[in-house]
Point group: C2
Chain length 253, copies 2
């Protein structure tokens, strides 16, 4: 099964551009979306596309953040939120369980200018660890797809040196990625393409950055150790337009 993840930067924006994920992502069986920037009642025509099951978890504040999981099969269970109000009011985490496989999408907080929100982000990361562990304790295999808002290593962004003090590449964020992978979760894309430079999933809108491929890899699909053997492919899709992010995907056998 092919699972996609895409930060669409506004589902209504991609709709207007005729780039709806379920219409343009080939072979998708599950689609995780971040930054849909809408509450379900604002987008009645988009919540349940023909042939899909839609699960939506949105921020309290209209037009902010929000995530969704669309799947061809109806999930056995859908769980919105991390179970902690500080984060759940921002609509950042959503899980859909299919048997013992749980597909989790996350839109990690941006740590912001001067790291103004770094503490919030790291607290989110800490709670996420426990949350994932709880799924695993229940006997589930976990795949976590989304916008982590972190470039892990120098190879994961075009201008590492220049960005050492910028949100998304702060030492504290990168250290959390180390920690997370240290827990056994696997960044399969990077494992299979250890030296591949220029593999990015986000580009600023300014100055033709995408055209010139001045980007960052901040969207990931990571899996729990017990899932690695099932991974047939892990890819990024930089030609898919419609957002400032591109989709990533993982194929499970």
């Amino acid at each position: 099964m092919r699972i996609y993840s895409w930060n669409v930067n506004g589902i209504r924006s991609v709709a207007k551009k005729d780039c709806l994920p379920w219409a343009i992502l080939p072979g998708a069986e599950v689609i995780c979306l971040q930054e849909t920037k809408a509450q379900p009642q604002q987008i009645p025509d988009l919540t349940d596309p023909e042939g899909w099951h839609g699960a939506w978890h949105s921020a309290k504040k209209p037009g902010y953040s929000s995530v969704a999981i669309l799947s061809r099969d109806k999930p056995d269970e859908v769980v919105p939120g991390l179970g902690h109000d500080d984060f759940d009011v921002e609509g950042r985490v959503l899980a859909a369980r299919f048997g013992t496989l749980v597909v989790i999408t996350a839109y990690f907080p941006n740590s912001q200018e001067l790291g103004k929100r770094l503490d919030y982000k790291l607290a989110f990361c800490a709670h996420l660890e426990g949350y994932l562990a709880a799924w695993r304790a229940k006997g589930c295999q976990v795949v976590l797809l989304g916008d982590y808002n972190i470039a892990h290593r120098p190879i994961d962004l075009a201008r590492p040196k220049e960005n050492e003090k910028n949100a998304g590449y702060l030492p504290g964020e990168r250290a959390w990625m180390d920690r997370y992978l240290g827990l056994g979760y696997r960044d399969v894309f990077r494992e299979r393409n250890p030296e591949l430079a220029g593999a990015y999933t986000w580009w600023t809108n300014w100055g033709g950055a995408r055209q010139r491929n001045i980007g960052w890899r901040i969207d990931y699909a990571t899996v729990s150790p017990d899932l690695v053997s099932r991974v047939q492919d892990a890819a990024i899709h930089p030609m898919v337009m419609g957002s400032d992010h591109c989709p990533v995907s993982i194929d499970l056998g």
Copy 2:
């Protein structure tokens, strides 16, 4: 001399549409603008078009209200505001004197849903009377061009009955127009076209109202009595696009 008045609904908006007033209004010698929605420092390229003298009076709040007068001849005097802070912070009145002729532009307040701001508007009107009288006391002839935000009589809007409780056609507003003309100021366009229906200067953006000419005449060029004999023409220009209002003009011999 031909004097135009146009509520442009954002000078930056008409610029983007290549509808800049000084580029498209034929034979203009003076142009009064309302709802420019910009402070001069936000639009350095627009404040002093080649071949024109620009005078701008803007609201304190960025992007709100604001008026301007562009003229081929340099005014002998430019006076921003009504001399009353309650109104002048909203950038609604501007005068340019050429000899003893004073061209005044005004963007009257909208009385808003349920007449929420009717009192403010009528206070504005009251102060305006005194302001105009002061110019006349100095020996000036007065022409007042702008968006009065009032349809005076049933003939001045397509749906009078339906709008009797709506901003722009409230009894209090219409009564002020009666009063104002009772002071001797002359609505030359209507005097010369007493029965002309369908002569509107504003149409809502909804539902093809302009296409169907479901509009209101709320923009006027009125003159003090001593100027009537110099009026060669008074017109509206409903084919000029770029705003939800169209320009009006008056020609003085």
